[in-house]
């Protein structure tokens, strides 16, 4: 009986493989969560009596603020650059992605240097008007509100990116139809375009929010206690891993709640486009006044999120670059790029495997496994780092004991303390990014398309080559570039898991910045930005290209059935 059941599992080798991958990728998080069962002593009582309400409040408000900020910036700019014609649109299309390349803590440090009480902006105002402290109001940058703004500025591109591709994929007919049915420009936006783009916007938002919850550098510097800083403090200050794990559980419950709420609100609505566009997406040609407003909205977003901080960093870098570009700098750069590229490729392959698997058998365990594998994105890097250390060190120890007894030599640590540990941590942390992107790409390839292809006599391999690959190419590129940029910025896990003498740009920038040597950190920080520019520009170009090519290649079909039917 048992044997037969085991054999039955072989009948679904892919389901088994998926479960295995999900198990490996969720192991680090599960390991840490299992600390919940450590006796937590009276620390938990202490936390709930003192700081826990503050953690909950700040984390919740931060999420709300960043959600509002990223939606406002991301959706607005995506809509404008996709659907409207105004001067500079071509530039904004790709440039609006640039803030993605700036690590959140770097933009936080940079703006603080400019805007805090002792910074040039306020000092100038005081000199100009003869004010002193208390005579005037100026927003405090190092505050919860400041953290919301900083995180929104660097995270809105997730929403922008996904919203924009969703808008691009929308059929112009849907909008035409809505117009003939009496919708104005605005109501056609709110009643047709926005609901149809909702899954993509939510996917982008969820990435931004997960990154927000996992952020350590910004909130730490701004003195805003959140779950992430609380976990760090409880673990390494109070020395209580059990209570820290309990905090992590609450954090995950938070995320679960948010997504459950979203899913519930969406209920069973499904959003299939029939992806045909026999003519390019119509754009609104804006009147000069409106064009000016559109231009300003995009320009301001770009200026605040990218141009200003980069100029400030450049000013600092000019002063210190000579010193900071010493011999090791090239190695630093190659390490960072190689690590990010390798991680991106592996991550996309894993995402493809999982996404296709889920498409083929969407059974409950498989769906659960896919969710589980993507869970790590919201977990602070340091929690993942410790979660990776534990099983790898154990495995190393077992292997080492075995070779010692069997062969009389010691393998030492061949998994932990090497790049293996680091790569595993990255997969755990960033799989959600590639998975979300690949899944949303795959969603475009409706089962109807497969069936049509098969009925026209395509073999599976042909179907993949002629239909899936061209249709997925954009998503795959997006996924790998997002992971690439994320890895370049990653800090806490890289810091503690890396092998000897293995530095990355983020490590260098962070060490100098936390040592309050912002000027010295600027060269490394700018290099991260510069290295991030290449993929970001590639990405933007590919999106822009897809808009025109696909419109020509996809053959004519009758009117689309529905766009975003709500049930």
């Amino acid at each position: 009986m048992i044997l037969r059941r085991a054999l039955a599992l072989h009948a679904q080798p892919r389901a088994l493989g998926m479960l295995l991958i999900a198990a490996i990728l969720s192991l680090p998080v599960v390991v840490v969560l299992s600390f919940v069962f450590h006796p937590a002593g009276d620390v938990w009582r202490h936390l709930s009596a003192t700081v826990l309400p503050l953690y909950v409040r700040n984390s919740a408000l931060l999420m709300v603020g960043v959600a509002a900020g990223t939606l406002a910036l991301g959706v607005t700019t995506a809509w404008l650059t996709t659907m409207c014609t105004f001067p500079g649109r071509k530039l904004f299309e790709w440039a609006l992605l640039l803030p993605l390349a700036i690590p959140a803590y770097i933009i936080a440090y940079t703006y603080t240097g400019m805007l805090d009480f002792a910074g040039p902006a306020q000092t100038f105002l005081r000199h100009l008007f003869g004010w002193s402290r208390g005579d005037y109001w100026f927003p405090e940058i190092r505050s919860l509100g400041g953290a919301m703004v900083m995180l929104s500025l660097v995270l809105y591109p997730y929403v922008y990116l996904l919203a924009r591709s969703a808008f691009l994929e929308q059929s112009p007919y849907a909008i035409d139809v809505s117009r003939t049915l009496g919708c104005g420009t605005w109501s056609s936006f709110f009643r047709v375009s926005l609901p149809a783009a909702r899954p993509a916007i939510i996917a982008g938002l969820s990435l931004a929010l997960m990154e927000t919850l996992a952020d350590f550098g910004t909130v730490q510097y701004f003195g805003v206690p959140t779950f992430t800083t609380g976990i760090f403090r409880t673990w390494f200050g109070l020395g209580d891993s059990g209570a820290a794990a309990q905090l992590a559980v609450v954090l995950l419950a938070f995320i679960f709640f948010v997504f459950a709420a979203e899913r519930w609100s969406r209920k069973r609505a499904s959003f299939h486009h029939v992806g045909n566009r026999s003519r390019p997406l119509g754009t609104y040609v804006l009147s000069p006044g409106r064009a000016w407003v559109a231009f300003s909205a995009c320009a301001l977003t770009l200026a605040v999120g990218f141009v200003v901080p980069v100029i400030q960093l450049s000013i600092w870098a000019v002063q210190t670059a000579g010193e900071m570009m010493e011999a090791g700098f090239f190695e630093l750069l190659t390490h960072t790029l190689a690590l990010a590229a390798a991680t991106a490729v592996i991550s996309v392959l894993l995402a493809l495997y999982l996404a296709y698997g889920r498409r083929a058998h969407a059974t409950l365990p498989v769906r659960f496994a896919v969710r589980l594998a993507g869970m790590g994105y919201a977990v602070p890097g340091i929690v993942i780092a410790v979660g990776v250390m534990l099983p790898l060190a154990w495995l190393d120890d077992v292997l080492d004991a075995w070779t010692r007894s069997q062969f009389g030599f010691s393998t030492g640590l061949i998994l932990s303390g090497t790049l293996v540990a680091l790569m595993l941590a990255y997969q755990v942390r960033f799989l959600a990014v590639s998975l979300q992107t690949v899944e949303s790409g795959l969603a475009k390839i409706t089962p109807v398309i497969d069936e049509a292809g098969r009925s026209l006599g395509c073999r599976v391999s042909e179907l993949v080559r002629r239909v899936h690959v061209p249709m997925l190419r954009g998503s795959l590129l997006t996924a790998s570039l997002l992971v690439f940029v994320d890895v370049m910025k990653e800090l806490p896990a890289t810091l503690v898991l890396r092998p000897f003498d293995f530095n990355t740009l983020a490590v260098r920038a962070y060490e100098l910045a936390t040592d309050e040597r912002l000027e010295d950190a600027s060269t490394a920080a700018l290099s991260i930005v510069a290295a991030g520019l290449v993929p970001v520009i590639l990405l933007s170009l590919s999106i822009a290209r897809s808009r025109y090519r696909e419109t020509l290649e996809v053959p004519y079909a009758p009117l689309p059935q529905a766009v975003g039917q709500q049930t």
Binding site: V386, A393, L512
Partner: protein
């Protein structure tokens, strides 16, 4: 088959393993940042021919890594910037005692572990700094006095997550007991000019700019600002602020050490001890003083001129291991006092 496995594993070890064992290697886990330790390691390598390998990270996670790696850990030496962490490492059984005449001669008894498990390498002091145009130093006396209502809304200090503040509070607990420390902190928090945020330099800048009148910060941050380019904002800010040494009639100003200990599993124990001994030579001690403006632990090594200008002072004679044993208590009390 066995041979095949052996060969495969050996290859794997060679390819993946951090080649930790060897005659002339020493592996360092450092919570001290690369810029402030690598140059010394390079000097050591140049002098002895011993290769040094380095990983830097925050102390807590690094200790966790050491703990998880257990007997297989490649690390030989653990370096950190706070006595509390050194004590935690010792308490967790991650370090081993070392006997070395050179170390014992160079490091005063108060700045090393009684069993020789860790040794202080440099000293840092955390005095009161005040804006000279707004504060009369005669009004200042001790850390305890900072809770006095006369300082309402006038004090800048960074967050309680910072280990230097945690150690300061740990020393207060040792001197005054828990209850008095909690009361003191409640008063101190009342006196904050703003929610704690930023680093030590930010507190000094805020005091200079008038956001507050008093900042609490480590001296080397002020020294670095004074050494900044003349005319720069930091240089100007540093000129507006002076150091007041608190508790000079009593136990003395709060001090802490950066220090190091040889790990329990050290595969290159002798090299690690040699490196430790190198770090307390006059040359290395003078480097700490000159480059980072810390106080050398070794008595006769000169201070940097920026630090000399801040004056001699009486340091708290507290056994520094107490900073570690009181750390968790300090964090809890800070939570209770509402020190963010």
């Amino acid at each position: 088959m066995q041979r095949l496995v052996t060969v495969a594993l050996t290859l794997l070890t060679l390819v993946l393993g951090p080649i930790a064992r060897g005659d002339s290697v020493v592996n360092v886990y450092s919570a001290r940042k690369e810029a402030l330790i690598k140059p010394l390691l390079d000097k050591f390598s140049a002098q002895t021919g011993t290769e040094t390998r380095l990983v830097t990270a925050k102390a807590g996670p690094l200790l966790e890594r050491l703990r998880r790696e257990g007997r297989n850990s490649p690390a030989d030496l653990f370096i950190t910037v706070d006595a509390g962490r050194l004590h935690q490492a010792k308490a967790a059984g991650l370090l081993q005692p070392v006997e070395s005449a050179a170390l014992e001669a160079a490091v005063p008894v108060g700045y090393r572990d009684p069993q020789g498990v860790w040794f202080g390498l440099s000293l840092r002091a955390r005095p009161i700094m005040y804006a000279t145009d707004r504060v009369n130093p005669d009004q200042l006396s001790s850390y305890l006095d900072l809770a006095d209502p006369k300082w309402r809304g006038r004090i800048c200090i960074r967050s309680s997550s910072n280990i230097y503040n945690q150690s300061l509070v740990a020393s207060m607990i040792a001197a005054h007991g828990q209850d008095a420390t909690l009361e003191w902190m409640k008063g101190l928090v009342e006196n904050f000019a703003r929610n704690p945020a930023g680093g030590d330099r930010d507190q000094i800048r805020a005091a200079a700019a008038g956001e507050c009148d008093i900042a609490i910060a480590n001296t080397y941050y002020l020294a670095r600002m004074r050494n900044a380019e003349p005319g720069s904002a930091d240089h100007e800010a540093a000129k507006a602020v002076a150091v007041f040494w608190p508790n000079q009639d009593g136990r003395g100003a709060h001090v802490n050490v950066s220090g190091a200990g040889v790990t329990n599993a050290a595969p290159n124990r002798d090299n690690a001890i040699r490196l430790l001994e190198f770090l307390v030579t006059d040359e290395a001690q003078a480097w700490y003083a000159r480059v980072n403006n810390e106080y050398p632990v070794k008595q006769d090594v000169p201070w940097s001129s920026a630090v000399q200008e801040m004056g001699r002072f009486k340091a708290d004679g507290l056994t520094l291991a107490v900073l570690g044993s009181n750390n968790a208590q300090a964090v809890k009390l800070m939570d209770q006092a509402g020190w963010r």
